[in-house]
Point group: C2
Chain length 450, copies 2
């Protein structure tokens, strides 16, 4: 166990007290369910590099990085300095700022498939705009998306994200399962759900809706499906289907853009028509973006005589997010991406060794600077294989609690790690040693899962 | 004309050069159509208080305040200091922060109808979450909204925002007109469009969809309809209808919250079930919020055994926006609201005097710290009355250009002003004098409009 904080109060008494105030004013005491934990969330006081200090003074090593959005850890001095300077000049105007042009130039220069870009405020907004732009361009109403994939909170994009054995239906024709109660049936009717990485079934489902589909939406490394990459064959098959059927292939790279210098898409021989971005490109500030082919992005061009997709946004392309994003992405150059991926691969190997030593039926999946632990012997290849039942969820929460409370280590609540460039070999040693201790303690329960 | 900048280059040569780079990378060269202007947008270099300096060094007096979102002008030192301090502690964590609790306490304390609140990243997200929460609570699929009202870019919320005489249909049964081409017919089928402030027709339309309506969405001072308040009778009639028909009355106060200390809603004897917030509550940083009755907000509570409306968001309640928002709203206390509204009322009276002196068929509408100029003799009461045809739009653009280029004054592109607390009597004198000169120049064209 980590000794640094061991004499301190790690029960989170102050966090508990703040949460008691929070439940009086915030529904459930939170604004993001991802930070909720039983019996209460913990509150951050300050964060620097790879470490977050909570309000009781406990410092924890952070592998969550605000749900994968901080690729240089917390309070990176270059970002803090640039934002501090911009703050003096204003945070938002009813005018343009060079900051958005500089950042657009950087991203367009980085990813060859990005011919034009437009900024917004979140990944949710980026995916929503991508779907609306696809409909505007093709004139067709439906979208197709993978069962289990998370794409933000726009109804169409979130269907079947939380599908489970009681409602997911036949794998040959998966049900469109609402995430939010009261989702209009008419929304469900316009969403085609397919099994990720399953070419035959997916093409069959797409064929059944051939004239109706505006776009096929893919996260090439979908975290909630199980954090394993789409196969080249799968992407190629879908790409070819979209070419034959006047549909668009659109990627949600809000999370996965970090995987390679030009996004996860650079691993495939075929490329998406449009890409939604968010998370790391904001340098720790709210951001979303839609990038892609100029002829499609044109639906958003206000100069046209008939503007197909009017779009604005009070805080879109605000100079704070644009400045922070540019500085963060300048620092996340080819060498930095390569080093970070190598460090994450090193961590994966060490954790695979931990699994071997502990002799538990566990495995790892991932790509680039992200990986996820699974409570099964062989790496899952589909959402249904990776699906965690209630018993598994309980063990995951127990392991997360152990890491958080006893080892002062923060992982994402799916047992995933999203690395930042501030992490070191020492940090991954600490992670693998902590995991070994935790897994050993829980081995009897883990063994019983199988 | 304003002499201060008169010797400088006001043709925006540097802005023109930046825009030439922008069009290579951003669709149409912008991320927000609101900042687009022909032949090119202007780019801000810095902004302070009521003034924005563009990249060619021209300083302009700002009545747009980033589309009504800056109620204390630009770079307010109290906000800059608080954000600068928070920056050192981090901009976002996968943990809570006391900043969100403090800000929630402030807003809950401010508006008696807010029992619980949840934060998100934009007004668009706030309205979307409000609609989804309404469906989750009532189990019904449709929403009703006013023709012409702007509520962000969620499909359901944006229907008929830009309805025009060629497509708006019979006033007794207005068409659901898509804003974005390719909007699914199924979306249009789930949106009931009613004429704002028209009780008889609205109730009739609601009655026709009685069992289907989850919520009636109202902006109590809808900017795009014409910036005049909903009448008490209208709000009461809709409120009573929702009570009888198990529907929710939900307010979009993203813009109008500034109108009174506790929002425009405090002017009515009946209150909304839910309220969407944004703009000024972010203190110049990206923000959205949903507030309202605890029993309805409960659909978002992650502690429940059956969570009806799962919701998260990477940047939701980030401590930068929460801190800036809290400081801004603390300063926007009852006295500040009252002073600002009085200054705006003074400006309205001066501009009404200008209209009289210039003897043109124009008028003003507004509420609180917002007002809008119309090219008609009598104040419009409906969207269709306030609707601007192409000829009027051209004159508006000409007057906006005159103000921007010759008087160094920025208004919102609808000819509206949204005041900030940094404005002074001197500034409104400058505005009314500039308007007098501009309107006099354009009088022949304005007279011809009628």
């Amino acid at each position: 166990m980590n000794s640094q904080n061991s004499n301190q109060n790690s029960n989170g008494e102050t966090s508990k007290a703040i949460y008691e105030r929070a439940v009086d004013v915030l529904t459930g005491g939170v604004s993001r369910n991802t930070i909720f934990r039983k019996p209460h969330p913990f509150y951050a006081a300050s964060a620097n590099g790879s470490f977050i200090k909570d309000i009781d003074g406990i410092e924890r090593l952070d592998f969550a990085n605000n749900m994968a959005s901080l690729v240089h850890g917390h309070s990176h001095p270059a970002i803090v300095n640039a934002v501090t300077e911009q703050l003096q000049k204003g945070s938002a105007y009813t005018m343009g700022s060079e900051a958005e042009v500089l950042f657009a130039e950087l991203l367009i220069g980085r990813s060859p498939e990005f011919e034009k870009i437009r900024f917004m405020n979140s990944g949710t907004e980026a995916v929503m705009t991508m779907i609306k732009a696809s409909r505007a361009y093709t004139g067709k109403p439906k979208i197709a998306k993978a069962e289990g994939a998370y794409h933000g909170t726009y109804d169409y994009a979130e269907i079947s994200q939380t599908a489970n054995p009681s409602n997911w239906g036949d794998i040959n024709n998966p049900n469109a399962v609402p995430v939010v109660q009261g989702t209009p049936q008419k929304v469900l009717d316009d969403v085609v759900i397919f099994p990720f990485n399953d070419i035959k079934r997916t093409i069959h489902l797409l064929d059944q809706n051939a004239n109706q589909i505006a776009c096929v939406l893919i996260d090439p490394v979908p975290h909630r499906i199980g954090l394993f990459p789409a196969t080249s064959e799968f992407i190629e098959a879908i790409y070819n289907w979209t070419r034959k059927n006047n549909a668009l292939l659109v990627f949600d790279e809000v999370v996965s853009y970090r995987v390679n210098f030009a996004g996860a898409q650079c691993s495939y021989s075929v490329k998406p028509d449009l890409t939604a971005l968010g998370k790391i490109i904001g340098g720790g500030f709210p951001v979303g973006a839609l990038a892609g082919k100029a002829k499609i992005m044109e639906v958003l061009d206000p100069r046209g005589t008939f503007l197909k997709h009017p779009h604005s946004g009070t805080f879109s392309a605000n100079p704070i997010s644009m400045t922070a994003g540019r500085v963060a992405m300048e620092m996340f150059d080819e060498q930095a991406v390569s080093n970070l991926n190598a460090l994450a691969m090193k961590a994966r190997k060490q954790i695979e060794e931990v699994i071997k030593i502990a002799d538990v039926p566990m495995c790892l999946t991932g790509a680039g600077s992200m990986f996820k632990l699974h409570f099964q012997k062989h790496a899952p290849n589909t959402y249904r294989e990776a699906y965690q039942n209630k018993e598994t969820r309980e063990i995951i929460n127990e392991l997360l609690d152990y890491l958080f409370l006893k080892e002062d280590i923060i992982m994402i609540n799916t047992l995933a790690c999203m690395f930042s460039t501030t992490l070191t070999q020492k940090d991954i040693d600490r992670l693998s040693e902590a995991l070994l201790r935790g897994i050993k303690i829980m081995k009897p329960k883990i063994d019983k899962l199988v």
